[in-house]
Each structure stands twice: as C-alpha cells, then as structure tokens.
C-alpha cells in the first residue's frame, strides 16, 4: 500500500481568515432511498447519526453526516476507518437499494477560520451567507469561482469546505486570495484592524 496523502499536503495560509488543509479525512458516499425505514435504521445504527433532513449537516468533517441530494449522503469519518465503515454500511444496508463508495482520496477538505469567514465564501459562491440565512447545521453545495464545492459553518467564525481533489490547489489559492490581508470587504463582518 502507498501512503495516503492529501492533495494539499498540509498547506496553510494566514490572512484575515486562515485557510488550512484539514488533513486526511474519510469520506463515504451513501446512496439509497432516504425515506426507506430499513435504510434509515441502518444508517443510524452504523454511523450514530440520524439521516439528515434536506441540506442538513450533522456533525462536521471529523465525524458527521451530510445531506448531499435526495438520494445521496456523505459520511465523514477517520481516514483509516473509511473502508471498515463502508463494509459495515454495506452489510447493514443488506437488501435495501444502496451504493456505498469510499471517496476519501477523491476529495479535499479545507478549514477556514476567522471573523470574516462569511465574506470570504460570499466572494466566490452565489449564496446568501448572511447570519440567520446560513447557519451551522446547514450544508450548501454550490460553486466557488468556477468549480463545485460544498461548505458548512462550524461556528460563527469557522467553516469547512469540500471539493474535488483535482481542484484542491485551485480552491486553496482562490480562498487564500479572498482571505488575504487588505482584501476584506467588511460586509458580513468588520475588518480586522
């Protein structure tokens, strides 16, 4: 086995908002009928999370379950546990219609931290990020610049973002420019002095 590596290899940028490679994270796509009681029971039993409602994020990238579409969930877990979790999910889902796919190494996760985190995301995503409109507990799949991403707030000054591995460098650079000192737009947050 080759050693697992993130696309960003620990990259870190410190601007008004810090942009940081979240490191190795297990990610599992779970497709199936979310209204099916057998599906819901199996998900709860194996992941410890109830099936999230529409656009709901339960937990975070260290351990969580995200609503990706009406037939797609994304489980976040330890990178080394992903294959074991996937096997347990497949076993528990049994005959219910499902597809469990480990995507850990096909995605990258980036952490953002700083008071103007809403502004940094809002520069590139056509999403209303105003307090009250977008809050922790919700996931939003959208674009950042010209590439697909999904993000969620983990607090009022922090967020996590997932993108395809192939564009991780682009997204990291993009966020770093948007978060650089002197680039604050002070729309949702006051600038750092």
């Amino acid at each position: 086995m080759s050693d697992p590596r993130t696309a960003l290899q620990g990259a870190h940028f410190a601007g008004d908002v810090t942009v940081t490679d979240a490191g190795l994270i297990g990610m599992i796509s779970i497709r199936g009928d979310q209204s099916d009681s057998g599906f819901r029971t199996a998900i709860r039993h194996v992941t410890g999370h109830d099936v999230p409602d529409q656009r709901e994020m339960r937990g975070d990238a260290t351990g969580g379950l995200a609503w990706m579409s009406p037939d797609d969930l994304m489980l976040f877990c330890g990178h080394a546990q992903a294959n074991i979790m996937a096997d347990r999910l497949t076993a528990a889902l049994g005959d219910t219609r499902n597809m469990v796919t480990v995507l850990s190494d096909a995605r990258a996760v980036i952490r953002l931290h700083g008071a103007s985190v809403r502004d940094v995301l809002a520069k590139g995503a056509p999403v209303d990020l105003a307090p009250g409109k977008f809050e922790p507990g919700s996931i939003r799949r959208t674009r950042l610049g010209q590439v697909a991403v999904a993000f969620w707030l983990t607090g009022q000054d922090s967020a996590e973002l997932v993108c395809f591995r192939s564009v991780a460098g682009f997204v990291f650079d993009w966020l770093s420019v948007a978060a650089a000192h002197g680039a604050s737009v002070a729309y949702h947050a006051k600038p750092l002095t």
Binding site: P126, V127, A148
Partner: protein, 107 residues
C-alpha cells in the same frame, strides 16, 4: 439573471449555479418512427416569445435535473417541478395563468 428553485434540494439559486438543458416535454421518436418525426424530435424546437418549458440541471448543487416554466421575454419564473413529470402539473398551469390570463397549454 434567472433565479431558479431546485425542487430536489430546495435551494433558490441564480442561473450560474444551474445548466440549461433545452426544451422540456419532448416526445421521443425512436425506432419505427417516420423519418420526419425522428427529424423533428432531434432538431425541431419551439422558440417562443413568452411562456416556455425547459429542463435545467442543478449542476453545482445537488446534481438533479428538473423542469422550469418561465417567460423568455421577462425572465419571470412561474414555477419549477421535478423531472419525474411527463405532463405539466396543474399548479404550474395555474401559476402561469395567474400571470398570463390569455395563455393556454398546447394540446
């Protein structure tokens, strides 16, 4: 700028988050069809100035295809509905007629 509401994930987004998929509710003409019917299925499209039905893809969002009814003249969106819909739903027709009283669905 169009703002569309995806019926699958409930997101109301602006059009750059979506991708247009052309005219909706086409009748597929395949093997056994006349050459003329097949030609029309492949190439002939309405291009109305006014009420139009389209397919859209939530490309940067949940990845689902859906239907939208909108006005090509004003960009007003009358409503969106799921792809698993072969005929235009009654509530969409009502929404259009509340804004365009003279409009009638084509037979």
């Amino acid at each position: 700028m169009l703002r569309l509401t995806c019926p699958y994930c409930g997101v109301t987004g602006e059009e750059t988050e979506f991708h247009p998929g052309g005219e909706a509710h086409l009748t597929r003409s395949g093997p056994g069809a006349t050459d003329e019917a097949f030609r029309d299925y492949l190439f002939q499209r309405r291009n109305p100035r006014g009420v139009h039905f389209e397919r859209w893809h939530h490309q940067y969002g949940c990845g689902k295809w859906f239907h939208a009814a909108r006005c090509t003249l004003t960009l007003e969106v009358f409503g969106t509905y799921t792809a698993q819909t072969a005929v235009i739903p009654e509530h969409i027709i009502d929404a259009i007629q509340s804004r365009r009283p003279d409009w009638r669905p084509e037979a």
